[in-house]
Symmetry: C2
């Protein structure tokens, strides 16, 4: 039995779709209310939202690991993470405040409608299966992050992030706003079925399992020396094979991919420049439900 | 006779194409050297570039009006503008350091390859005509800015900004990088012809003349109440007529356009949210050359 589902927006202060969806639900909560559980929603990083920046001191969505949650810190987001863990967790608790966290994100990569999941629980995957049945274009990426086990949804027993793109930081797109909204409604609809006596049947889920990050080539000063090759740009969830163009150096030279056939994801995400990677690589798999 | 052409990048610290083009020319200046004039290039807002932000205290590309250039200030960009005016101007001087400034920008709006020009000088428009002949997809927008006469290129007798998009802030795209590079090379090629004894002939130029800004609807707290309607998104340089959808409110309601038939430009540019406008409107005209 699920008692509380939590929708979080503004984990990154410049990803406007989640921020404005949460603002609209805080004003008019009817659309997210269901008959047999409570739905709560929160704007998480209000200071970053105000400045329309991803974060103030460090990426909030990399702060929810047990080390940070149990240490003293002077960084704004590390302390904020502890407050959020008190409010919605605590992480690993047998009696958490929230049973399911869905965290709303956008990306500058052409990820379409995606779920980024690091949770192995049955219910989480049943929710994903249900949504994918309603929204066949949805892609599912099993990724624990570039810093493991640190996402905000990791403080509840179940959850994931919704990632939609391509959309610039600091921008709304009405089409992706409405599609994100619909995914959330499907999620809530399924939890209502799950909590009821109704029977349901679900299909196995095709998903992409994280393999590795692909770093930008850098010069001796640590600045990037190349950009994503124009033939790879926007080809998220597509295969790449040895010999295909990967980067173009600023002097024009092409750097080709070398490695096994894998799928390219999060290609050219703005926030990953400072982390140093240009895309991630993943393998297609099937999750038995 | 043109003695010096100046290419500026990083006027906005999160518009990476101009920044990395200038970095690459600072390393390898051969590509921008021509036989009969000097080409210089500069990164303008190094502090904002380092933080990958548009600006630190205020938009540098709104600081080059005579009022700011002649006043005391504590704002970083207002003082930087004065330094740049010393380096490349002075504005209005009979003997300016630079004769032509081309300032490299990107936009999250779907502006394709565009020139934003606020200069009426014959040479500026001859350059535009020459480039448009080489790059027919180029659009020309005659706009003096939301704050008049304040662009960096206004401190030289001739010049304009190149605006390419759609591209998120903080992101490179190889396709648009190469196209921006080509536009700059055409510019330099024409100045070389202009300075020589060669004769040339040019065509009249179709351009878009600024009419007005379109503001976002706002609530009593000053927050936006609507986003660009999904049918208007990405339709830069297209006509809008009375009755066509303009905005979608967060509650779903549609706000339609009312007014004369005009062209929509700079639709959904990230940097214009804080300025409060969602797009600009323009009229198509012909410039006699």
């Amino acid at each position: 039995m699920i008692k509380e589902v939590t929708i979080t927006g503004g984990t990154h202060g410049n990803e406007l779709i989640g921020i404005y969806l949460v603002k609209s639900w805080l004003k008019e909560p009817k659309a997210i209310q269901r008959s047999n559980f409570k739905t709560s929603c929160y704007l998480l990083n209000k200071k970053a939202i105000k400045e329309c920046r991803r974060y103030i001191d460090r990426d909030l969505n990399r702060c929810f690991n047990t080390k940070i949650l149990s240490s003293q810190s002077e960084l704004y987001e590390e302390n904020l993470a502890k407050e959020i863990d008190e409010l919605l967790g605590k992480k690993g608790s047998d009696n958490p405040k929230s049973d399911f966290i869905v965290d709303l994100h956008t990306t500058t990569a052409n990820m379409g409608l995606s779920i980024v999941v690091s949770n192995e629980n049955q219910l989480t995957w049943e929710v994903i299966s249900y949504i994918k049945d309603k929204v066949p274009e949805l892609n599912v990426y099993m990724w624990r992050g570039d810093e493991e086990d640190s996402f905000v949804d990791s403080i509840a027993p179940n959850g994931f992030a919704i990632e939609v793109g391509a959309i610039p930081q600091g921008v709304l797109r009405s089409d992706l706003y409405q599609k994100t909204e619909q995914i959330v409604y499907h999620l809530l609809d399924f939890i209502e079925i799950y909590n009821s006596d109704k029977s349901y049947s679900l299909r196995d889920v095709e998903y992409f399992e994280h393999v590795m990050l692909v770093n930008y080539p850098k010069d001796k000063d640590g600045d990037i020396e190349a950009m994503v090759h124009e033939d790879r740009q926007d080809r998220d969830f597509e295969l790449i094979s040895t010999g295909e163009p990967l980067f173009r150096r600023f002097d024009g030279e092409i750097i080709s991919y070398e490695g096994e056939d894998l799928y390219t994801l999060f290609i050219n995400e703005a926030a990953y420049y400072e982390k140093g990677f240009a895309m991630t690589l993943a393998r297609k798999k099937i999750k038995k439900i």
